[in-house]
Structures are given as C-alpha cells and as structure tokens.
C-alpha cells in the first residue's frame, strides 16, 4: 500500500499517427528502442505537447478546454489507458476512471453480478461488496432490474449503474471524463452530490468537464488546456473566469468566418454605393466586435448612393443567432447632407443607452429602404460579454429592478 496517492507528469507528449509516414516513424521508434526513440520525435498530430503537472493527495482538479485540446488524452494517460509517446508519468495509487459511463459493463451478466465482478477487480472481498451493494442498488434506482442482464437496460440505466458502482467503492484516484452530463436532471443532481461527498474524503479527483459551474463547485484546482498544452493552472474561480473570457473574446476573424450574416453579407441595389455599419461604445470611435453589457453602445450607419433616393428610411434590428428578432427600430431620413438629385448620402447612429442584453452572440442588421422597398442591407455579428452570474437560469436581459420591503 502506498502512503499517499499522487500523480506526476514530466513533459508528457502524445502524438497520434495520421499519415503513413507518421506510422512508419512510429515503427522505427519502436524498433530503435527507448534511448534512440526519444531523440527522434514521433510525428503526427500532437494531442499532448510536453505537459508537466504535479497533483498531490487531496487535490480536486478540474480540467477545462475547448474540444480537441487534449483533455481526454491526458486523463487516458493518467488512467493508464494510453501510453505517452514522450515524457514520464508517475502515478502512485489506484486509478478508477469513468470515461464513458457504461463502458466495461458485462452485457450478459446481471447488474448484481457486474457489481461483484467490479468489486473483485478493485480488490474488494465479497464481504466488503456485500456491505455496499444495497447502497449501490438504491443509488442506481434499479430495483427489480438489478437481477436482469445489463443488455436489457436502457442507456440511462447503464449510466446510473456504472456511476453508482464507481462512486461506492471508494477509489484512491478518481478520474471522471464528462460523466456528469449522463442521465437526466434528477440523477445529475444526485451524482453531483455524490462526487462532492467523495471529494471530501481526501482522495485525488480529476474531473474533465465543459460545465464551468460544476468545476467551480467541486474542484480546488483547475487546469486550462488548449492544443495539447496547459495554458493556466490555478484556483478554479480565476482559471474558469479567464477561460470563459478567452472563449468569449474569440478571434474576430473566426467569428466572421463562422457566423452567417456577418459583415460579408451585404446587398446593394442599383445606384446604391455603400451601406456601412460599425459598432462601438458611445464614448469612443474605435469599432468593436465585443462589447460589454451595461455600457452605452452605438450602432453607426452610413450610406452613399450615386443617385437620388426617394423617401429614404433606415431600419436597424438586433437578432439572436437563431434569427429571432429581439428589437428593431425604423427612422426616416428626412434629409442628408449630400441629398440631392445627383447623389445621396447620410450618417446616422442608433444608440442603446445602455445595452442590456445578457452575454451571447447577436447579429445587428441594417436596411436601407426606398419608398418601402429594400435597396440595401448589411449585418454584422457581435458579442456581448457580462460577468453577472445567476443562480437558476440564464435571463435574456440584464434589466434593472428595485425590491423594497418594510416591516408592518
């Protein structure tokens, strides 16, 4: 028996072969042996790139990061399910991993038999399993089904059984990969409570999750991974905060490339030369694509035409990404500085003082209308950020309210 569970990772790398050449390099490395292999790097797609970390007893580590950051690869290596292609992994303590719930259940055996087999694999005696089996069955809410073969279970039932099994056997190092999302809302609450209970017994718990809330609640340390590297390592509130900021303040070009109806989409009828839209704070001239909720935001619109425009009016609308219209406003352009028979032009701005939308991605669409007909349109996507957090939901607006109470 070891004294204390611990995990040490020293510049751990993992590359997956993609092309035939990568594969050949892998074979060569394997043939060349340990010493020669390490001086000749593996080629292919690097899922992990020199990750160094030290996890000590009693730590509850959350791992966050975008899809494909290498989170799963890292926990697979810690759990011994994958071999690193470089670096050293030292794990002291027995690792119990919940990767995909339900994986590892023996389909032809009953739930009860599965619990005994799993207990045996974890080194428990029959008597020890007998002590907790009632608890497991209760927790999994399987009642009669426990004596039936696992293949007759629904997906949710399998997930519940698998979760109950691992959580009742008191693992030394528990690795949970996105398992919290399994099951329905009722079970998710129970599962979260169980994990918190486990964490308090001083074992190492590693949670990989996209759910920032649960990482904040469960963990006391957080690793942020991106492209196979650990970007930040520290306390969960700070790290998850930075991570969500980073996610929100995504690259403008990426936003432009991905969002339909971004600035690329522009429609100009004959004679209309330009319709421009820029978004900025009222106090600044600098155009922005990310604005903070609660500030005064200006949607500046400018149009130019090489001909006269009859009864021009402009419409501005804010839409959600799914196309739902949130607000719109229309304004007649009575006159423009360049209005006349030979040409037409104006600048105007619609202001929200302040912008009260909650965080998210929105689309602003402006349209130029001539005698009731649409002659030009442009839209731009923008993001709204906010640090407000709410318990129990995600409101559409951050609207003010006053609660006043008096004793009578």
């Amino acid at each position: 028996m070891h004294n204390e569970p611990s995990i040490q990772l020293k510049s751990v790398s993992k590359t997956y072969p993609v092309t035939f050449r990568d594969f050949a390099v892998g074979v060569f490395r394997a043939l060349a042996g340990q010493s020669a292999g390490s001086s000749f790097p593996a080629s292919g797609r690097a899922a992990l790139d020199a990750v160094t970390a030290d996890i000590r007893a009693g730590e509850r580590v959350g791992i966050i990061g975008p899809n494909g950051a290498g989170k799963s690869t890292l926990v697979h290596i810690i759990a011994g399910l994958a071999e690193p292609t470089g670096g050293v992994v030292e794990v002291a303590g027995r690792v119990t991993a919940v990767m995909t719930l339900g994986l590892g259940l023996r389909e032809d055996l009953s739930g009860r038999e599965n619990i005994y087999i799993d207990g045996e694999l974890q080194g428990k005696t029959r008597a020890e399993v007998d002590r907790v089996i009632g608890q497991i069955i209760d927790f999994a809410e399987l009642s009669d089904f426990i004596n039936m073969p696992v293949r007759t279970y629904s997906t949710g039932m399998k997930a519940r059984l698998a979760f109950a099994m691992i959580s009742c056997i008191e693992p030394e190092i528990l690795v949970i990969d996105e398992a919290l999302s399994a099951g329905d809302a009722f079970f998710a609450v129970k599962a979260r409570q169980k994990i918190q209970e486990l964490c308090s017994t001083g074992r190492i718990v590693i949670v990989v999750s996209h759910d920032i809330d649960s990482i904040r609640r469960i963990c006391d340390r957080c690793l942020w991974m991106d492209s196979g590297r650990i970007v930040m390592d520290g306390d969960p509130v700070t790290i998850t905060g930075c991570y969500s900021d980073h996610v929100r303040a995504q690259d403008e070009s990426l936003l432009l490339a991905r969002l339909p109806g971004s600035a690329k989409e522009v429609f100009l009828a004959g004679g209309i030369e330009a319709l421009d839209l820029s978004i900025h704070y009222s106090s600044e001239r600098e155009a922005r694509r990310v604005v903070e909720s609660g500030k005064d935001v200006l949607f500046s619109i400018a149009a130019r035409a090489g001909r006269a425009v009859v009864q021009p009016s402009v419409r501005v609308a804010l839409l959600r990404l799914d196309g739902t219209l949130l607000m719109e406003s229309r304004r007649d352009i009575a006159f423009g500085p360049l209005a006349g028979a030979s040409g037409f032009g104006f600048e105007t701005a619609a202001e929200l003082s302040p912008l009260r939308l909650n965080r998210g991605t929105y689309v602003c669409r402006v349209e130029l209308v001539e005698t009731g007909n649409l002659v030009a349109a442009r839209s731009a996507a923008f993001e709204v950020t906010s640090t407000e957090t709410f318990r129990g939901g995600y409101p559409q607006l951050l609207w003010p309210y006053i609660v006043h109470s008096e004793r009578i």
Binding site: V18, S154, G156, F299, G393, I408
Partner: protein, 406 residues
C-alpha cells in the same frame, strides 16, 4: 448503417388501410395500445427452448398501452426520465423492434434521428460516410456531389471531412451525423435528444434547421428528458413513466406534473395567501407590484423573482431574473414592493415567479439554500403577468435612440 435501412423500411410499412379513414384526418403517427415486452434471457432459456417450452418465464414490459397520435404537420414531445421507455418507443416506431401488443402506423417517409452513425462507420472518412449515407437513401449520382458539399459545409468539419471518423472528437462526429440525417426533407421525423450538439453557434444552427424542416409540413416525435426542449419545439406533450403514458396535454400543464417539484415548507415564512392569479402591466412603462410576506419563524428572508415567456412549440425564455434581495428578519409581516422600470416586455402573457428563501449564513455561497415558499408555473401555482400596450415587432419592448451625425 443498419439503422438507415431499417428506418427506410419503416417508411414502406404505410398501411393501405389508411384509405378507410378520411385522409385529412389521418395522423402522421398513430399508436393504439402499443406494448413491447422483452424476454429476459437467463441460464435456463436454452434448456426451456430445448424442451420445447416457452422461451422465457420472465418478461420486462418496456412499453404498455401506449396510445398516442401525432397530427400531420405537428411535432409532439414525449418526456420521461431515464429508463421510462423513450428509446424503446422510438425504436418501435422506426421498425427496429416489433411491438408485442397493439398497433401503430407511420404515414410517410420517416427519418430516424437517433443512434446516428451506425456501427461500422468509424473507419470511413466523413466524405465516405456521406456518400454511403446518401447512396443508401437513393440519391442519384448527379446530385451526390452537391449534397456532399452541403453536408461538408453544414458540419463545419473543414479538412477533417477527408479524415476517418475515428480521428474525430465526439462533437465533430455528431455534427457530421446530424448534417447528413437532416439534409433532405422527410415527412416524419423521429428525434431522440440530438439538439444538444456542439457549441452555442452550432446549436443555433441545428435549431434553425430543425425548425425549417418541421415548418414545411413535416411531422415529428421528439423524445427527451430535457423538458425545455419539448416546450420550445412541441405544442403538445406526453409524459412517459415506467413504460406508460401518465400525462398528456400542453407542455405548460404537463411539465409541472413531470417535474413534480417538492412544495417547499411554508411554516417559517410564506407569501400571503391572497396573491392574485393574474396581474397586469403595460409595455415600456414602469411596473410595480406589491405583496405581503408573512414570517412566523425566526428567519432571515430573501426574495427573488423571474419573468418568463412561454409559448408552447416556439420558445421558453427567462427574460428578467433577479438576484436574491434582503427582505428582513422574522418573525414579522413585510410589505414588499417590486419595481421594474420601463417594463421591457411587449404585449402578451408572461409567467411571474416569486421565490422566498433563507439568506445564506457564513462563508461561501449556499449550494442548497433552503427555499421557503415559491410561486411559479413549474410548481403549478404561477402568476400570470398580462402585459398590454402597442405591439412590438421584436421580443424586447425597448427602443434605440437615434442620433444624426454632422
């Protein structure tokens, strides 16, 4: 790929006897007393078969007496907890399982949006998968290329489209399968919780596509444990519990019964008993609401509220949500005055939810802060907020200020 063939074959099961009923009245999906029992195979099964006895003495009833109808052009939700029989129902309707009792009919070409991907697709590239999927569905060689490009564009896989599926992350594979399965219009959709794929942007895209597909007169059955998805997509809902339908009706009525939230204890503090069922407001004007709180117990009170819009089949959205505000310390009676300046709600009906709770003590946020009394539609005792005023085009009753530049 097995699913594909099965889903397609279910389309052929269109019964010719449909002609006996009036065609406009015939529903897209129809089940009567549908039941599905599974035989439990145990150690004795082989012996019983050998001796010519009935194969099993032990059966599991996954579905019992299911009677439901999906009218043409509507999407109907079936909500239920894990193990309620939701997937069994969907598989039965798709023809993967044969029912053991009752009858059902699916009129029109059905597309099953569940267990996407099949079982042996892992070693195909995205393009190969798309090609195979489309070919099995009868796409002609001419249109194939165009359709594959559409799948590639929608799934946003980029270069990964040419790589094998086993190099994808789960989300990427799900995007590919969703893009392929929803590419063409079908008459009937059988959907199993697939709208939760990818990030915010991709989810918005999935919703838009689903809505578009369903708007064109298609019918569908959505099985889910996510009641909010059922509200946003379905005008009517069934609740499935332990293989039986226990509730049906509009999601607004059915969801509180499905959730069956525990009524909070009101012995220490509660809202006055005479709170109205319905209150009024005017769009864009300051809105005030006054009510009484009675606290016989020694308790530090907090109050929070939310305003939600719920249109079955269209949306469910929390529009305004407050943080807990202090009320006072009991025992005592309190008059609480709630003001929302320039009420941002266009004319229509909303739900006002009121929450009374005990203020958390000591350090750290309280995870299970104890609720004292709640009025809310999910508890079945909500307050309707009826907003009048001039209609607005958008979902928010607020306006821009226009400026003219020099």
């Amino acid at each position: 790929m097995r699913n594909t063939r099965r889903a397609a074959s279910s389309a052929l099961r269109e019964t010719p006897s449909a002609g006996t009923t009036r065609p406009e009245a015939s529903p897209a999906i129809y089940c009567r007393n549908l039941g599905k029992h599974f035989d439990v195979v145990d150690g004795g099964t082989y012996w019983r078969v050998l001796f010519g006895l009935h194969a099993s003495h032990n059966q599991v009833a996954a579905l019992q007496q299911i009677t439901l109808e999906v009218p043409k052009g509507k999407i109907v939700g079936v909500i239920g907890r894990n193990g309620a029989g939701k997937s069994t129902l969907l598989r039965t309707l798709a023809g993967v399982y044969t029912p053991t009792a009752g009858e059902f009919r699916v009129v029109g070409e059905a597309a099953g949006l569940f267990e996407l991907g099949g079982h042996n697709s892992r070693f195909m590239t995205g393009r190969e998968y798309a090609t195979q999927y489309l070919s099995l569905r009868g796409a002609s060689r001419r249109e194939l290329e165009e359709l594959i490009d559409e799948i590639r564009a929608f799934s946003e896989l980029g270069d990964f489209f040419e790589r094998r599926i086993h190099t994808y992350s789960t989300g990427m594979a799900a995007r590919l399968y969703f893009a392929a399965a929803t590419l063409r219009r079908h008459e009937v959709y059988l959907i199993d919780e697939i709208l939760s794929v990818g990030d915010e942007h991709f989810q918005a895209k999935c919703w838009a596509r689903m809505r578009d597909r369903l708007r064109g007169g298609a019918s569908g059955l959505l099985v889910t444990h996510d009641w909010s998805a059922a509200i946003r997509l379905c005008e009517s809902c069934y609740v499935l519990d332990a293989g039986r339908i226990v509730e049906s009706g509009s999601p607004e009525e059915v969801v509180p019964k499905y959730l069956n939230l525990p009524r909070p204890a009101t012995d220490r503090a509660c809202f006055a008993k005479d709170l109205p069922q319905e209150i009024q407001g005017v769009a864009g004007e300051d809105w005030q609401y006054q009510f009484m709180v009675e606290a016989p117990g020694d308790v530090d009170l907090e109050f929070a509220f939310s305003i939600e819009r719920l249109i079955p089949g269209l949306e469910w959205e929390i529009i305004v949500l407050s943080k807990p505000s202090p009320v006072g310390r009991g025992p005592g009676r309190f008059r609480v005055n709630l003001t929302v300046p320039e009420l941002p709600l266009p004319a229509g009906d909303y739900h006002l939810n009121l929450f009374l709770s005990e203020a958390p003590h000591g350090m750290g946020e309280s995870i299970n802060s104890s609720g004292l009394d709640t009025r809310g539609w999910t508890y079945g005792n909500g307050i309707r907020l009826r907003v009048s005023g001039t209609p607005h085009c958008g979902r928010i009753a607020a306006d821009f200020n226009w400026h003219v530049h020099a």
